[in-house]
Subunit: 225 residues, 2 copies
Amino acid sequence: MSRCEQCIARQLNSMKTLTKEELRDVAACKRTLYFKKGEVIFGENELLSGVYCVREGICKMIKLSANGKDHTVKLMGKGKLIGQRSVISEERTHLSAVALNDVELCYVPKDQILGNIKSNQEFSFNVLQNLAQDLREAEGDLINMAQKSVRQRLAEALTYVSKTFGETEDGYLNVKLSREDYASIVGTATESAIRILSQFKKEGLISTSGKRIKIEKLKELERVE
Amino acid sequence: MSRCEQCIARQLNSMKTLTKEELRDVAACKRTLYFKKGEVIFGENELLSGVYCVREGICKMIKLSANGKDHTVKLMGKGKLIGQRSVISEERTHLSAVALNDVELCYVPKDQILGNIKSNQEFSFNVLQNLAQDLREAEGDLINMAQKSVRQRLAEALTYVSKTFGETEDGYLNVKLSREDYASIVGTATESAIRILSQFKKEGLISTSGKRIKIEKLKELERVE
DNA sequence: AGAAAAACATGACAATTATCATAGTTTAAA
DNA sequence: TTTAAACTATGATAATTGTCATGTTTTTCT
């Protein structure tokens, strides 16, 4: 009952370079897993025996800190591969993966992935390009953290969520994140995130309905100082 | 007159997985370049036609910011490959590379590198593992920036420089960095870096002689709060 | 629908970090 | 060796961000 050929993920990541036969082998050993909002897919310092491909929903990659306030390093939406880095470098995980909402994941054993890396040149190069891209993004985030204010970072987080995960017909962000989530992404205290979002509201840059957020002035938000 | 076989860099990066023949081809098209302290190897948003391998000296990868204060993303010592990411992802550079002291670089055209990636599975996988490693480090830096104080980050920068580039027989750091350099690495104002280094001195964690720095109490420095 | 829990909001204050100013030191170049 | 330039040092003050406390609103669960 393998349907890897039609899987959305195949359109979105390195899997698209696999041949029909390779894909059939992946399908043969994959498993579909479901996690509810808040459930932990894996923790820090774990050995992974495979990678997870996000088929539905969003996961957050987080790092716990001493004071209990964790930092969200990145959000993984549809088609993203989780655990790829750890499997490739054969190290333990250094981040946890947590379901941000209800998610459906496709689990592929690492031997299958590594096997394809060794045997399929195109797949291997595609994974390489993906990692290079991830690296660029990580360095970009690092620079943002170093050079921009909390206010700027929060504005960017909003536009990022809008662009990456889209908006409903009435203009609200598709993804519901709590203020605490935003604080964790931006790297600030929850109260600071709340305060700044309140400012954005007063300035008319965004509006809210409950915890739903709507970006009113994208251009201005992108130019926040 | 190719001496790639003996090159120090061959011990330290993916080049070590190349066959004798491949290495000979690399040697045939490589060029050795020299840059004096402060000279720019390449700037931001440039297209690279090859990668640079550090044979002697240290380069810093920096990102310019609006206010003129740039951020040092990483230091590249002996054996590190500069520009690898941009060449692999076929994007423009997003960082500049600047000589931190006098450096000797080995330039290898990108076709040579990409060719080896396509043809030598072991080389390709090694590059993959290197990128995965770089990614882990970048994410680690991001988390440090988000979760730690300037004081903690500066303490880490000192131990990092000590571990990575070593010390002279009399215990001073091999690499001479200005306070401004440290500030740029840590992501803070130069005055703040100066102030905190002064504190470290008062606390006996380090001592200085001119701009040379000696770590006196490594353990305590690693545990700075 | 109603109660409990979670999330949001905001004030007051503290801590950290940045900025500006000014002076002393070290380094490097003439 | 002298002299300018660069770097280091430190105080005073401002700006940003974090913490604690408290009350309100929204969501969730029964």
